[in-house]
């Protein structure tokens, strides 16, 4: 392979990005060296096993990926803003919607939510860390390396271009011979290992490490939804693992699982993909539901209405989520009975979801609502998500779906589900838990700009897509001719996407501004909240709780505050056991990345040689007898005094 096959060449846009990426890397390295921060980066972040720091790294990576995926979205909107534009050609458009979809779902939504789970869940259940801190770090590094591997595809080797669903036969070697779709198979496999480990980690954490007294029905809602999400991860991700392994075998070694010839069946890929893909939608949306529940209860100053029915509906959604996958391919020509059954199961999901919507509304009813930014996002979520849900029920009807399938109507539908359901939730969660991470609030004033620009821009962008969809525009169309009556809608939609981008810019500015100027003296409970994560210092100390709290009811911190039991007795302090940092997770992550890269290019000798790195990492990990260390009582006392004043 010659160098100009290795690097993608011949497109000025990509050349510019290559140069920009190169310069940014050199700039960053120079900056860290100049500030003499390498050691700090290594010991405070790269080798950390602290769930809060890992969470922050997840979120940072998620914001970066949101930027990348968002730029993809804007480019697509620019290309279709007028008929017959030649800003992107067909190939380029294909690559962009593919990377956009994959990045938004797997490298933006997942890490953002897992990041917030990481920061919040151990604190919320009164634990000192997750069950397996080192495994948690490994999950992060696998995700991060996979995300980077996937992202370099557009400058090195060429991007995947068969859609985020990568349907066969198109995604097979015959029709897409380049390395692009290898990136899809390998990078997602690596990320999937990390996600599966996260799922296991959080199940064990929530089942085993809750504070004394926190029985199942006293668990905060976000903890519940995170538990259920983790269970769906463990149930569904292995299916994707298998499907991707078959895909890799087909593409790299010439097997015939999904090919048209030699007894393969392309529909098998669709079937396996959506057996994972539909539950995946709930994996990203359930934690979001949990976050809205916390935010709404806090800012309505009431406990969550219908807690039990909330729990049952989450479990019900999880159960049904494994039974609906065929609704993504009604049109493949199933028998009427298959389509009918899956229509019914799909519509049934609307019931528990509806229960949740009503519970949120009833929580708001007669509440003393405080319109903080976190609350605004939650309020905007309800109507926007309902539009997504109702159009979803329209798509659920198999007969009607023959009309809607693969049109812009569908694209509008799932953006109305995913953006309010995930992105609004992440924003709500960020505003709400930001102080917990960094010790100051994001500016409420700049936040209002962020909110209004983004919500208005979102509706302007995606509402027109419903109508062009009904007018017959199919999805993944890179251009269209004049006179179809679409230009008006699509032009409008393109302007909307710029407004939405301005909203995102306002968020970035808000983060910058607040880091520099936001007041730091906000106490440990800036929102007058209800759950345990606020019962300790803000930002949380590295040991989380000097003394593990005891829980007697739902909303335990609210209860403690009412009874005046938030104090800490000196005699309660005991040395705290903490896990030590470790270099193996980042080392293993990089090792997987290197092997993955060689596999993408099908350089098997190099791949085999470099897999020694993985083995070294695993062996080193097994012989790591580090037992952690103890924080002495004096140090705890000093840290606790710093924010509590005197101890009792």
């Amino acid at each position: 392979m010659s160098l100009d096959e290795f690097f993608v060449t011949g497109d000025p846009l990509i050349l510019a990005s290559q140069i920009a990426i190169g310069l940014t890397m050199i700039g960053l390295i120079a900056l860290v060296t100049y500030l003499k921060r390498w050691k700090w980066l290594w010991s405070e972040w790269f080798t950390t096993v602290d769930h809060k720091k890992i969470g922050i790294m997840y979120i940072l990576a998620g914001v970066l990926m949101f930027f990348r995926g968002g730029v993809d979205g804007l480019m697509m909107k620019a290309q279709t803003s007028r008929p017959n534009l030649e800003f992107l050609d067909a190939q380029h458009y294909d690559e962009i919607f593919t990377t956009h979809g994959v990045i938004m779902i797997l490298f933006m939504a997942m890490p953002m939510l897992i990041g917030i789970m990481n920061v919040v869940i151990p604190l919320q259940i009164g634990a000192r860390d997750v069950a397996f801190p080192k495994l948690n770090a490994l999950s992060f590094w696998l995700f991060f390396v996979a995300a980077m591997l996937f992202n370099v595809s557009f400058v090195i080797g060429g991007s995947p271009d068969a859609g985020w669903t990568s349907y066969f036969p198109l995604a097979g070697k015959e029709f897409t011979p380049g390395v692009g779709n290898n990136y899809y198979a390998i990078a997602l496999q690596i990320a999937g290992i990390g996600t599966l480990a996260t799922g296991i980690n959080f199940i064990v954490t929530i089942v085993k490490m809750r504070a004394p007294g926190m029985t199942w029905m006293k668990m905060p809602m976000f903890t519940w939804t995170s538990l259920v999400t983790s269970i769906i991860i463990v149930a569904a991700f292995p299916i994707f693992t298998v499907a991707l392994a078959y895909m890799t075998l087909d593409r790299l070694f010439g097997t015939h699982f999904f090919t048209v010839a030699a007894g393969g069946d392309p529909m098998l890929w669709l079937n396996l993909f959506w057996l994972w893909g539909h539950p995946e939608v709930y994996i990203v949306v359930l934690p979001a539901f949990g976050m809205f529940s916390e935010v709404i209860a806090t800012f309505a100053r009431k406990n969550l209405y219908g807690y039990k029915s909330m729990v049952f509906s989450v479990v019900g959604i999880a159960f049904l989520s494994m039974l609906v996958w065929v609704h993504h391919f009604y049109t493949m020509g199933n028998s009427a009975s298959v389509n009918t059954v899956f229509s019914l199961t799909t519509m049934m999901i609307a019931i528990p979801t509806g229960v949740k919507i009503f519970n949120w509304l009833f929580t708001l009813r007669k509440g003393r609502i405080e319109f903080s930014n976190a609350m605004l996002w939650s309020l905007a979520f309800i109507p926007c998500f309902t539009i997504g849900g109702v159009t979803g029920v329209m798509l659920a009807m198999a007969a009607a779906d023959y009309q809607y399938h693969n049109t812009m109507f569908l694209v509008a539908h799932f953006h109305y589900v995913l953006i309010p359901g995930v992105v609004f939730a992440v924003f709500a969660g960020l505003y709400y838990w930001w102080p917990k991470m960094f010790g100051f609030k994001l500016s409420e004033k700049i936040g209002k700009w962020h909110f209004w620009l983004f919500v208005i821009g979102f509706n302007l962008t995606f509402m027109p897509m419903f109508f062009v969809g009904l007018d017959g525009m199919s999805r993944r169309m890179y251009t269209y001719s004049e006179g179809l009556g679409w230009e008006g809608w699509l032009g409008f939609s393109a302007v909307g996407s710029i407004v939405m981008a301005a909203g995102f810019a306002a968020l970035c500015y808000n983060i910058y501004w607040s880091f520099r100027y936001a007041p730091r003296d906000i106490g440990n409970d800036p929102w007058n909240a209800r759950t345990l994560e606020w019962a300790t210092a803000t930002p949380a100390p590295h040991y989380n709780f000097a003394k593990i709290p005891e829980v007697t009811r739902l909303d335990p911190y609210w209860d403690m505050k009412k009874k005046g039991e938030t104090g800490l007795k000196k005699s309660d302090l005991k040395p705290v056991h903490m896990p030590s940092n470790s270099w193996t997770p980042i080392f293993l992550g990089v090792a997987f990345g290197v092997v993955g890269f060689f596999l993408v290019f099908e350089w098997f000798t190099l791949a085999i040689i470099s897999s020694i790195g993985i083995i070294i990492g695993l062996v080193a990990n097994s012989f790591d007898y580090d037992e952690g260390y103890h924080i002495p009582v004096e140090e705890l006392e000093e840290e606790e005094r710093a924010w509590r004043g005197d101890l009792k």
Partner: protein, 101 residues
């Protein structure tokens, strides 16, 4: 059943005897009868499932301890998922004109 009982381990004895009986029965079916291969496979398979259940309940104590219920739910859910994935896929891929031939 969470407290340790010091009586005679009836559970273990019954489980042990049942396991041996089931195994012998399987051997008998396989070697000493003239059923067709399919019938034999079905019978042995069914016996194996019973055997597994006996192991789980009588020796591995899945219902005992704080997490007994969780273990049971977990196993039932896993079996349910496996059935849905396998038989669901077969059903979907072999009905209608998308069928694999």
């Amino acid at each position: 059943m969470t407290t340790v009982k010091h009586g005679f381990p009836w559970n273990h004895l019954i489980g042990f005897v049942l396991s041996i009986l089931l195994t012998l029965f399987a051997v008998f079916i396989a070697f000493e009868t003239d059923f067709s291969k399919t019938v034999i496979m079905w019978v042995i398979g069914t016996l194996a499932i019973f055997q597994a259940l006996i192991q789980l309940f009588m020796f591995m104590h899945i219902t005992e301890g704080k997490e007994g219920m969780l273990n049971v739910i977990n196993i039932i859910y896993s079996i349910f998922l496996a059935l849905v994935i396998v038989f669901g896929s077969i059903w979907v891929l072999t009905s209608g004109h998308s069928a694999i031939h």
